[in-house]
């Protein structure tokens, strides 16, 4: 067997390979020369840090003043305990509004969101289009100005949206109840681990102190149960890239509280024998959790219940179109079967018959949930994320969701056909098996050939105006990994562009190593020089004040 990462898995077809080679050659020229690649230059503003802007006395915005009560109450200082009066004002900058708007607008221009460019690289995270109409809805004062603790009768609209969305997710998953309280995918994974803990304890079974996951499941499937107190056992892949079923069976025991796995795993390979895994876990008395942070390739095609899972989670900010927002706010919708439903965190949302209510239903938050685990965060969760996800789903319906999955799968296989013709890229595991929505590729061969790995490629690649890729694929079982996910958002031309940029980046790594090693050339800043600062407490500077303390005021305009 060749080394992982250089072997070629999947389905190979000579005729397709030739066609794709020609396509790549055609596309990997500048647009003005008949190809696809743009002569891209990122915004580069050389923008000062906010702490360097403005002059003493300038005002950005003036808050409400207490002049209307000044006659009735003393100065603020006299109302505060003497020990707690702030002695010196915080050293914040003083910047007028036009300069502030300009500053933050410029920063935003040096940021490649999905609204700006093709973001196929951050696979496992499903970077898709977030519809503008959903943003307008989320910004409605009827949403943005709600206090989460308002009387129930004043929240009927958003509660109905949550109720409807939970019914939709029950149909998509086959499970019975959902909670929107987890404020992120990992929080939902942790929530399930806490449920497993409570469930077994209530049955008098405190022996189960292990959770089993697989190495190609998301990192949080190991990390979150560890926080919940579990010893985590990680099953490695067999030679085809599947989590090894025999290895799984060997580690299941009366100590196994749950298996927590992803399918398809981060390799993009759907495990067709998944039911044998869940059956084996159930036979050992364990619960089964499917991490469905990214559901895009199987949306409406196959469900957690039929695969034997007791619970799952959907990241509404991935599959369901709510924006990522530079990492949050987010929602990990946590779904469970009826036997686990009493353990969902309080409050539980229920619909009660009420003939006076619109549609005959009144929505009620039930706090009387004696078996519920503790809260996963305050109040009800990030309901504006649920609102956006509901609008996204209602725009598509059952046919649309099916179309999302089918196009995601077609897009991925179309991209794969091109990427496998690019020098230095490996396609490990499972010959003869097609991937669904994403593929874990390897630059292992490129690294051997050129000395450049996935981090270098990531940097050279963004010179073409495409977003870089996500790097959380540790440990690197697949050497020098990357995992593109060309979801339904991307057009055929978007994918062609991405592949052409990849071909050119690879060609540069092989043929122009000096130029390549100095990348980026067209980005918002130049190459990092002080890498050692990432690991040196004397050098790192997390804030401007720490920077000035450790490195002097090299660029500071104000030396006070």
């Amino acid at each position: 067997m060749s080394a992982i990462g250089t072997e070629q898995g999947g389905v190979h077809n000579e005729a397709v390979a030739r066609r794709m080679q020609e396509k790549l050659e055609d596309n990997a020229r500048l647009r003005r020369e008949g190809g696809l690649l743009r002569d891209y230059q990122a915004a580069r503003w050389d923008e000062p840090i906010a702490m360097e802007l403005g002059r003493p006395g300038e005002r950005g915005v003036i808050p409400p003043q207490a002049t209307d009560v000044a006659a009735e109450v003393p100065e603020a200082a006299e109302l505060l305990p003497r020990e707690l009066r702030r002695s010196a004002p915080p050293a914040l900058p003083e910047i007028s509004q036009p300069q502030l708007v300009r500053h933050f607008t410029r920063l935003s221009e040096m940021c490649l969101g999905v609204d700006v460019t093709v973001d196929i690289g951050e696979g496992t995270c499903t970077m898709k289009y977030s519809p503008k109409v959903n943003e307008l809805l989320a910004r409605s004062p009827k949403m943005s100005e709600l206090h989460p603790d308002q009387p129930e009768e004043t929240l009927q609209g958003i509660l109905e949206i949550c109720y409807r969305m939970s019914r939709i997710l029950c149909e998509i998953s086959g499970l019975d109840e959902f909670s929107f309280q987890p404020p992120g995918g990992s929080a939902a994974v942790y929530g399930f681990a806490a449920i497993a803990r409570a469930y077994h304890h209530e049955r008098g079974d405190d022996v189960r102190d292990e959770v089993v996951t697989t190495i190609f499941s998301h990192p949080c499937d190991g990390a979150c149960p560890a926080t919940a107190g579990y010893k985590v056992v990680t099953v490695m892949p067999d030679e085809n890239g599947y989590a090894d079923l025999e290895a799984l069976k060997a580690v299941l025991s009366e100590r196994t509280a749950a298996i927590m796995i992803t399918n398809p795993e981060d390799t993009g390979i759907f495990n067709p024998r998944i039911r044998e895994y869940t059956d084996a876990a159930h036979a050992a008395g364990a619960l089964c959790f499917c991490d469905q942070a990214n559901l895009n390739g199987i949306l409406g095609l196959t469900r957690a219940r039929e695969a034997g899972f007791d619970a799952c989670q959907f990241n509404l900010h991935k599959t369901f179109g709510s924006p990522h927002g530079c990492k949050g706010p987010a929602t990990g919708a946590l779904g469970v079967s009826s036997k686990l439903a009493p353990y969902l965190p309080a409050p539980h949302l229920v619909a009660l018959a009420d003939e006076r209510a619109p549609g005959g239903l009144r929505y009620h938050l039930d706090y009387d949930c004696p078996q519920a685990i503790g809260k996963l965060r305050a109040f009800l969760g990030n309901l504006a994320v649920v609102l956006r996800a509901y609008a996204w789903t209602m725009s598509l319906g059952a046919r649309g969701l099916r179309e999302v999955a089918e196009v995601a799968v077609i897009n991925n296989n179309y991209l794969e056909a091109q990427l496998r013709e690019i020098r230095g890229i490996g396609y490990p595991y499972a010959p003869g098996v097609r991937r669904l929505d994403q593929v874990r590729y390897s630059f292992g061969e490129l690294k051997e050939d050129t000395g450049f790995g996935t981090t270098d490629m990531r940097t050279g690649f963004c010179d073409f105006g495409v977003q870089t890729w996500f790097m959380s694929h540790h440990p690197w079982i697949v050497p020098e990994p990357f995992t593109p996910e060309p979801c339904e958002t991307y057009s055929k031309e978007d994918i062609d562009y991405w592949a052409a940029a990849m071909k050119t980046t690879s060609d540069d790594a092989y043929e122009s190593p000096q130029h390549f090693a100095a990348a980026p050339h067209n980005q918002s800043c130049h190459r990092i020089r002080t890498w050692e600062r990432l690991d040196d407490p004397r050098e790192w500077a997390v804030t401007w004040r720490a920077y000035r303390r450790k490195h002097g005021a090299a660029r500071a305009t104000d030396e006070e």
Partner: protein
């Protein structure tokens, strides 16, 4: 289904001819040739049973807005609810910048391709550092309670101890989040939570009880300033000293919008500060605006045990040019899965940017003014309310923006009062009679810079009418 005829604006390749062209180019005729990887017995037969889609954007917007219109918002009613999410002024610039698609739709792009995001985040760190008086501010977590819970777990790892002290009157929700993160007593990793008594007269921590309970077993002393019931904690420095003497980590939960006028947690030497960013220019949005910040001293063990991402400023090959990078990234759950200190994930990145915009906009003078306005308006409200017959302030003065109001001697329950207020367009304070029986029929009122004197007078006049 190789020709669904279902063309959707969000899916360019839903055009049947394009689908077919792509399949043909890769040697396939039907998507089913790929989907065959999913065994038939696991396939959904036909389509899911879901509501009919609203393909027209107009229809969709109208449908969802009609549902939202069933809400009555705090913009329509006069809101005095707080207790973990608060009505505050949101500068237009915060809305403008958080709506920028470049930020809104970005994720984890690199130091080069997302330079602006990294810089905005560094500016958030830097601005919060000045407000809180620390050298390290990390990526914010989900909310105040989870930030406090992770800080307690950090403290347990830093000290190798498994008991933490918390105030007995902390909010029930925050307490529940912390208890879950500290693991139940039947789990080996359990961190025991011991309550420290609070003074019934003013809500402050009982320092004698704290001294008697802190020991060589104490991993952390967690306290709030202001606490859930709104009271400030003049003993903050003494609490931190007691913790330090016991070899424990002191953790202060604070309200950032108070810190233009209230002493910052760094000044009284709390080892870790946590709290919620929502007051700093983030809409409540039924709780979507919550974001739990964390700050601490620039000492390697603290950074190493912190679960969240931490970024440093870096230099590039061009003199004087900056970029940013994640430090000690190998330690997080992205790097070492279950061997990491807890987990890192998608948290509240957009709200960090928003809070940075807010602090840069207000500056030192604005932060002082907003703090002064809140303290004075809140005290004005408290004094006026206490003049009402039968209404009292069980914890007296010494609060920032929230305070319990007791209706015991009015003959009315909080539920009755709040129902009558709601009928008159006012959200009364949160009912404390369940979680805090010692306060009788009390409600937690929140008054901030958004409440004018006219608003407060309206509340008082309405209450006078309701209680008569």
């Amino acid at each position: 289904m190789n020709d669904t005829g279902f063309i959707h604006p969000y899916i360019p390749n839903s055009v049947p001819a394009v689908r077919q062209e792509m399949l043909r180019e890769i040697g396939l005729t039907d998507v089913e040739e790929i989907l065959a990887e999913i065994p038939a017995n696991l396939r959904v037969p036909g389509l899911l049973s879901l509501p009919e889609p609203l393909l027209s954007e107009y229809d969709l917007r109208r449908h969802v807005q009609s549902l939202l219109d069933r809400n009555v918002s705090s913009a329509e009613c006069l809101n005095f609810l707080g207790g973990g999410c608060w009505s505050h002024f949101v500068p237009a610039l915060c809305d403008e910048i958080t709506a920028r698609g470049e930020f809104l739709t970005a994720y984890s792009g690199s130091n080069y391709s997302d330079l602006g995001k990294h810089q905005a985040r560094f500016e958030y760190n830097s601005l919060m550092a000045e407000l809180l008086d620390y050298d390290v501010v990390v990526e914010p977590g989900y909310d105040w309670g989870t930030a406090a819970g992770f800080a307690l777990r950090m403290a347990a790892r830093l000290t190798g101890r498994r008991e933490v002290l918390v105030p007995e009157n902390m909010g029930a929700e925050r307490r529940s989040i912390i208890a879950e993160l500290c693991e139940p007593e039947y789990v080996a990793g359990h961190i025991a939570i011991t309550e420290v008594a609070c003074d019934r007269a003013n809500g402050r921590l009982d320092l004698a009880d704290l001294a008697s309970k802190s020991s060589a077993a104490t991993a952390a002393v967690y306290f709030e300033n202001p606490g859930y019931l709104g009271q400030l904690e003049p003993g903050a420095a003494e609490i931190c000293r007691l913790a330090r003497d016991a070899g424990a980590v002191s953790i202060a939960g604070v309200d950032p919008i108070s810190l233009g006028v209230v002493a910052p947690p760094g000044s009284y030497r709390a080892d870790i500060a946590v709290g919620d960013l929502q007051p700093l220019g983030i809409h409540m949005a039924a709780g979507t605006g919550l974001s739990g910040f964390m700050a601490f001293r620039d000492e390697e063990p603290y950074l190493a045990e912190c679960p969240f991402a931490i970024y440093t400023i870096l230099e590039t090959t061009v003199a004087g040019e900056h970029t940013f990078g994640e430090l000690l990234s190998g330690r997080t759950s992205y790097g070492v899965r279950d061997q990491a200190p807890d987990w890192v994930g998608t948290q509240t990145g957009l709200w960090a940017i928003c809070a940075g915009v807010y602090l840069a906009s207000l500056g030192p003078q604005g932060m002082r003014e907003v703090g002064e306005t809140i303290v004075r308006r809140a005290h004005y409200a408290a004094r006026r309310l206490a003049e009402l017959p039968g209404v009292s302030l069980p914890l007296g003065d010494g609060f920032f923006k929230e305070f319990p109001v007791c209706f015991d001697d009015t003959g009315k329950s909080v539920a009755e009062v709040n129902e009558a207020l709601l009928a008159r367009g006012i959200f009364g304070g949160r009912n404390l009679s369940v979680g805090y029986p010692q306060l009788g029929q009390s409600a937690l009122y929140c008054v901030t810079e958004v409440h004018t004197r006219g608003d407060i007078d309206r509340l008082v006049d309405t209450l006078a009418e309701v209680l008569s």
